[in-house]
Amino acid sequence: MKRTIVYTVIVLLVGLASCEKFLDEEFLAGDSTKRRYSTAQGMENLISAAYTTSKIWYGKEEGYDFTTAGTDIYDYGQQHPQQYQYTFTTDFNPTNSRLVVLWVELYRGVNACNDAIDVLSDPARTPFDAAMTKVRLSEVRFLRAFYNWHIVETWGGVHMTTEPVKGVVITANRTPVADFYKLMLEDLDFAVANLNETDNTAKSEYGRVTKNAALAIRSRFGLTWGYYSGDNNMLTQAAADAQAVINSGDFSLYDNYADVWALENNDNNTENIWAINYSRTEYATMNVDPDGYRVYQRSGDKPWDEREGGHHGHLMFGMQYDIMQGMTRDLLYGRPFRRYNPTMYLIDAFHEDVDERFEGSFRTVWIANNPTATRLKWPIAGWHDNPADTAHYGKPIVEFGDTCIVFIKRDWPATDTLIEDAIVQNYVWHYNRDFWTLDHSLMFNPDGTIRGERTNDRNLCIELNKFTDPERAAANGTGSQRGIRDAYVVRLSEMYINAANALWKTGNSGTAYDLLKQLADKRSYNGDGAAMLASYGINGGEDLSEEYFLDERAREFCGEQLRWFDLKRVGNQMMIQRMQMYAGNPSARANFNEKFILRPIPQVEIDAIADPSYQNPGY
């Protein structure tokens, strides 16, 4: 019996001694952050995730929404579902669902960077060797600076964090803009200092941050902070960074501006310093399932849908050509989502006779591509009926392969007969030339606002064709939205303009002029940059002005998701002034004020931290 008791006790003790081990939890159907980030593969996954945040902005509708449109160069188009974003009424408020998406994803991006920085900064924890650690750490610090820049330039001095989020945090800090720039520039300094010229420049590393990318972005941020702070050293540094990139010999300007946007130059673009890499791989077709965002959205909001991944610039600026006799939707002309219309200011900013950038940026002519475009035949009752032209009778109005639509940025000569009573979907028939047309006065009111009533409430415009993508899988339906273009974040021409801008601002306008002329030499049809600059009123450094730089940036970068930042850099007063003068709709001209220069902080943030005072002023 005694022995039994002893055995019993032994059994009990053995059973319980292993208790703590018994309670260890091993997550096998997924992985913990702790374990995953300690492996090289897991860290590469995390860094890839950090890069991916850029895809919420670049080549994406939400990104265009708050950079390109609602400025002096672009206004809303017919199909923009949230046009109030551009009329600057009280409807533009903290419940804006698109700002939620950007706000959420940017902070997730910053946190992914912080997660990676946290591990990589600790030599004991980094899963890479020292050299690789330096490269990857430079990349994520660059990305953190990059995302923080989007945050601070969109919402101002809001929440900033340098540590991974741990545990329950239901507060958000208010960090001064200066502190944002301090951290951003430190991060870029680190990247510039630690990346070698050869790091990430191999073809197999394309898309990763390089030393030149870090210099180029530091020139942009430095220029901006130089403007904000009035610190001339900052401007000098920005000019030096930009010139370093120009002088690196790694990039060159195209002779023809259109080549910048030629799809065949996509992967080897000589002007591209850093691009968000979109691809032809099947993965890019994946939808981003927005479950994670749904949590932040109010009932009634549609979940954000990322539409087949890929670059979406080709969808955004198109006009509705495909409703016209003679036209059918195809890969070349694209799938027009009609989100944005150019302002008169932008169209008129080009001297298209000398400047190849108008031709290189816009589409004004459509050739009839519909083989069955013979339905409508002359004469048409009620149309202009010229008895002398009876030769037309019985013939189709438009024939396959003929010019079908022509939009011009000037007015037609008074002798050209437009048949205004022959309006189909607001297109006007050009009787003398046998095509559908719109001209300047049909597109714009005399004050420069968009003539909605003549453009069928904005389904017609001169369209930006920098991003057209005839290599998509389909013209319509599945695969038609996924663009394979890379989104160029920073191009060589910006280095010329940034350097010139910074030098001019610090009194070195002669060198500034020289740089601008080098760029103009390439952008003018005849290679005579001086003449082109002269046509814009610039005969030397002394003619340069803030306005000139803004005009030049509009011509060079329209649609490239920079405009809001360019306007903001020059100061609130000038930004407001330009919006009052050039915005595409009267409401924006009347309403735009200082409050709108900072976007409203999404209500989901305010609700979660339960602090209404966190909101930006005026919302």
Partner: protein
């Protein structure tokens, strides 16, 4: 009794006395006797015979005889479960025969209390027992059904009328917002999971532990209450073979009056009156050409005079339910066994909906040595459940299901195209089938170490294999792709328990100590595949690999789907029970639980309880009051938990982001994984503190007995998902923040109304009322509209606009303020801003009843027995789905309704409205809130036990036949309006059946 038998009895008696003699005092005298049932005169085997004040004793053998040695003047205590104990002082006799009578209240009954047993009279907490005969009374697939109305404090409603459907059970209301509120089930000491599929015939007893002082031994799992199920054991004696069976036919209880052709035409005419200027409300019916209001196919049907009854077409007249249960029990002094085979079939009156279960239950226990018992209790079951589609109530009577050739018309309605619902009643076109296999086996050994000291160790394996297949095929004439999915869920669980019990009397002191350890390991593995447009769509989900679209290996949109989930729980359990003279009783119990789901450093938690009881009736000052047989006051307090944290919740984990980044030319994808769940080291269990005050009483020799429980509970550290600010980079984190409270009263009353000779009549009454309330929500907010949680309200409420009627003629001006016209819904403008907006929604009611009660009455006369069981659930609101199944544009048919017209100024249903479709009419929800109160006759059974002299000729030792009506009658405010059974929130697609059955219980 034959001579041989007598000889045998004497011999065994002598033999036994030799054995016993070795252990008792030499000078003692040998006493023998025969113990019988006072009423039937049958021998009672296994009766405990104890010499009072000593540990010596014996028990009767299979013949009901005993033998022991004792001295004159000592007292013999004869006790047997279910019988009144008797004490006899030994005089000069050597033979003491005793007749025991059935007890009215089983104070000596041994009650299972978790990791041990206790005499009912020693209990200090709130524990209800369900008797064996109650468990099989109401014929059900699910043994849990026996608890409805039989145990106060339990509120259960059937989840649907589907064959084999389960119950949703709340014990003393709900307390958790996001976690389960279901009690846990313990079968033969081991956790069984939430789905009880055990045949009622296999169950010996069920105990419901209700208060925290009783459930504290279940620690982090005890907060929702514990239901202990003890399966039947064999008894020593000659083999007993029993066969129980019944066969019943089922049909819906009540019916929904779906609009017939006449009603549809009336609606169509009224529709024309609202839309055509040439007709008005005074136009006689026969001068309205109804044709223009009908679609082409409806016009054809109208011309043919169709009046097709779609509801009748979608169901069979009757379904059936049958059960065959064969059991063999028996054993000898050393070994006892019980084996039972069961086959249960439920075939719903809705085609393609049925349930079959096959089960095997075995129990073996053996006394290996004097100090060692070993045994095994196993349960193996296989179920095959086919889940049909519910009845469609929108089909049009003018467009029948079959064409003129008698073929199924794939899409009879041409106005709003519905697939013909009869298509999917054919398993070739639609099959949703679950195979469920369960193997639950417990091996145990018990060491009887010292007197009063025993050690029991048990090891349980619980393996479950479930396959869930779904298929919907194409059908010529309707536009649908074949689609299917199949999932496999395998669970592997084991439990190892060690229980040390010390139970001893020291004079007036009684001490029971229980110390136990338990290790529980759960592992679930899952597999899934689905696909659409099956190229080989000929064999359900077995051809998913031929899918052309949407091939998935995890359910789409289910972020939390894990192919592997593991958790483990380690526990130390202790209980001290002390009693003095059986008068003053105290129990202290506690459990120390460590769980794998919680973060290191927070894994362990302690759940304590204390309770005391005072048996006032044992006091000397009560001895004069003969009317009071039993009076006990109990008071308990304890804290228990709700083990509601999912595995891996405290681990910070990553998630793949669905968009990828590519590097290089050509591009190489690097998948993006980043933090999605933060480490959550503070996560812990929800805890509930309960104070329970109970009174047990027995009057007039326990002819009237019962108990009253009063309780208050406070649940805190409730798990709630806290939405984090986006600046925190992850969407939500689970926190222990909310608080709820419940309080209530429970009454149980058993009376023996008549007990005289051939006639007896007993009634059991239960009553309970529970109030629950949210007292704190995350962030300190007063309401959470996303979940319809409101501080101060029950955990589940109906929150909507308040319908106050219909705008009537003469109220045009006021109605116009709200943009409405006479005939429209009149909704309460709660905030008085003359618009009806979200802000005008109010809490309309709760699905929780004000009170529930059950009354069971059993009468026996000679061989006859009559049972009536009435169940009431009163004061709750239901949301009746069919009320929203109305299209005011009359495009779809539905239940016949009394809708408003200028000539019919009703306040029930609004006017026909050409602009409102069924799906587009969001305000229709206000029509569906109804008083769900009902009273039901759950069971009405008349049985007849055949006389012995007849049955014995057929070698049958007892035979009972019965007829029973289950769920046959219901009464209720809403029920009277002709809807289906209100028990499940007015379920109509799968109505809850009523059943008439005949059955037999035979014992050989």
């Amino acid at each position: 009794m034959t001579l041989i038998q007598r000889l045998f009895r004497t011999l065994t008696g002598v033999l036994l006395s030799f054995i016993l003699a070795a252990t008792v005092h030499a000078q003692a005298r040998q006493i023998t006797g025969h113990v019988t049932d006072a009423q039937s005169g049958e021998s009672l085997p296994g009766v405990n015979v104890q010499i009072v004040g000593t540990t010596s004793g014996s028990s009767t053998n299979v013949e009901g005889t005993y033998s022991l040695s004792a001295e004159s003047g000592q007292e013999l205590l004869f006790s047997y479960v279910g019988y009144e104990s008797q004490t006899i002082v030994i005089g000069n006799q050597t033979v003491i025969d005793v007749a025991l009578s059935v007890s009215y209240e089983r104070l000596d009954e041994v009650v299972v209390v978790g990791y041990g047993t206790m005499k009912r009279s020693d209990l200090t907490g709130a524990v209800s027992s369900v008797r064996e005969e109650d468990i099989t009374q109401v014929k059900a697939a699910n043994a849990i059904e026996a608890l409805q109305g039989k145990v106060s404090g339990i509120d259960m409603v059937r989840s649907s009328g589907r064959a084999g459907s389960g119950y949703s059970i709340l014990l003393r209301g709900a307390r958790s917002l996001t976690a389960s509120n279901s009690p846990i089930y313990i079968v033969d000491g081991v956790s069984y999971g939430s789905d009880i599929d055990i045949n009622p015939n296999d169950i010996a007893s069920m105990e419901v532990l209700k208060d925290a002082s009783s459930t504290a031994v279940y620690g982090s799992r005890g907060a929702n209450g514990v239901i202990l199920i003890t399966t039947k054991q064999g008894t020593a004696g000659k083999p007993k073979i029993s066969f129980d069976t019944y066969y019943g036919i089922t049909s819906p209880l009540g019916s929904v009056p779906l609009g017939d052709a006449e009603y549809f035409l009336r609606m169509s005419r009224d529709y024309l009156r609202t839309t055509r200027p040439e007709y008005d409300w005074n136009t006689p019916d026969d001068s309205i050409d109804v044709g223009p209001a009908l679609s082409a196919r409806e016009n054809e049907g109208y011309a043919r005079g169709e009046n097709f009854d779609w509801v009748a077409a979608q169901r069979k007249d009757f379904g059936s339910q049958q059960d065959y249960h064969l059991s063999i029990t028996g054993g000898n002094e050393q070994t006892r066994y019980a084996v039972a085979l069961d086959h249960m079939i439920e075939d719903n009156f809705i085609p393609n909906d049925n349930y079959k279960r096959y089960s095997l239950k075995t129990n073996v226990e053996s006394k290996v040595t004097k100090w060692l018992n070993m045994g095994n209790s196993s349960f193996i079951s296989f179920t095959n459940q086919i889940l049909g589609r519910g009845i469609n109530y929108n089909m049009n009577p003018l467009t029948p299901a079959y064409d003129s050739l008698g073929n199924l018309d794939p899409e009879p309605n041409d106005r709003v195209p519905f697939e013909n619902p009869l298509i999917d009643q054919n398993p070739d076109h639609y099959l949703n089938q679950v195979y469920d296999t369960r193997i639950f086996s417990t091996f145990y050994g018990q060491l009887n170490l010292l007197e009063g000291l025993s050690f029991r160790t048990s090891l349980n394996f619980d393996l479950g294999f479930q396959r869930n297949g779904f298929f919907q095929g194409t059908y010529e004439g309707i536009d649908r792709l074949s689609t299917g999915n199949v999932s496999f869920t395998d669970s592997y669980n084991w439990t190892w328990q060690n229980v040390l019990t010390y139970d001893k009397n020291f004079g007036d002191h009684h001490l029971q100590l229980t110390a136990a350890t338990e290790l529980i390991s759960n592992r679930i593995e899952r597999g899934y595949q689905s696909g659409t447009d099956l190229e080989l769509g000929n064999s359900w989900w077995w051809t998913l690999s031929s899918a052309n679209q949407d091939k998935l290996i995890a359910p789409s949109g289910d972020e939390g789907w894990l192919p592997l989930s593991e958790k483990s729980l380690a526990s130390f359990i202790g209980r001290v029970h002390y009693g003095w003279k059986g008068k003053y009783l105290a129990t202290f119990a506690g459990r120390y639980d460590g769980a794998s789901q919680l973060a290191p450093g927070s894994k362990w938690d302690f759940f304590p309880s204390a309770s005391v009881a005072w048996r006032i009736s044992e006091e000397s000052f009560m001895s004069g009051i003969s009317a009071i047989t039993n009076l006990k006051l109990r008071l308990g307090y304890g804290v228990t938990g709700n083990q509601s944290v999912d595995p891996y919740s405290s681990v910070g984990s990553i998630q793949r982001i669905p968009m990828y980044y590519e590097f290089g030319q050509p591009e190489q994808v690097v998948l993006g994984y980043r933090t999605f769940y933060l480490e959550n080291p503070d996560l812990t269990w929800e805890s509930t503190a309960v104070t329970n005050l109970g009174i047990d009483f027995g009057l007039l020799r326990n002819r009237i007995s019962g108990s009253i429980e009063l309780y208050k509970s406070h649940t805190y550290d409730l798990l709630q998902d806290r939405t984090l600010p986006p600046t925190s980079a992850v969407p939500v984190i689970t926190q222990n923040v909310g608080e709820t409270k419940t309080k209530g009263i429970e009454v149980t009353l058993r009376t023996v109304n008549i007990s005289s000779g051939d006639f007896s009549w007993t009634t059991d009454l239960t009553f309970s009322a529970n109030r629950e309330e949210i007292t704190y929500l995350v962030g300190g907010v007063q309401q959470d509209l996303a979940n319809f949680w409101f501080v101060g309200q029950p955990l589940s409420v109906f929150y909507d606009y308040d319908k106050i009627g219909i705008w009537q003629l003469g109220e045009e001006e006021e109605a116009a303020l709200y943009g409405r016209v006479p005939g429209d819904l009149k909704l309460a403008d709660v905030n008085g801003d003359t618009t009806i907006s979200d802000l005008d929604r109010v809490v309309l009611g709760t699905p929780r009843p004000k009170w529930i009660g059950g009354l069971n009455s059993v009468m026996t006369y000679k061989g006859f027995d009559l049972t009536i069981f009435v169940f009431a659930r009163i004061g709750h609101m239901i949301s009746d789905g069919i009320e929203t199944q109305w299209s005011p544009d009359r495009r779809e048919n539905s239940m016949e309704r009394d809708y408003w017209t200028p000539n019919n100024p009703t306040n029930d249903y609004p006017r026909l409205n050409p602009g409102l479709t069924r799906s587009g009419w969001s305000e229709a929800t206000v029509l569906r809130y109804k008083d769900g109160s009902f009273v039901k006759i759950r069971d009405l059974t008349l049985g007849f036990t055949l006389p012995k002299d007849i049955t014995s000729k057929a070698y049958i030792s007892s035979a009972r036949v019965y007829i029973t009506a289950k769920n046959a009658f219901a009464f209720g405010k809403y029920y009277k309006q002709g809807r289906y059974d209100p028990e499940y929130r007015g379920a109509m697609g799968m109505p809850i059946p009523k059943m008439f059955a005949i059955g037999a219980n035979l014992t050989f």
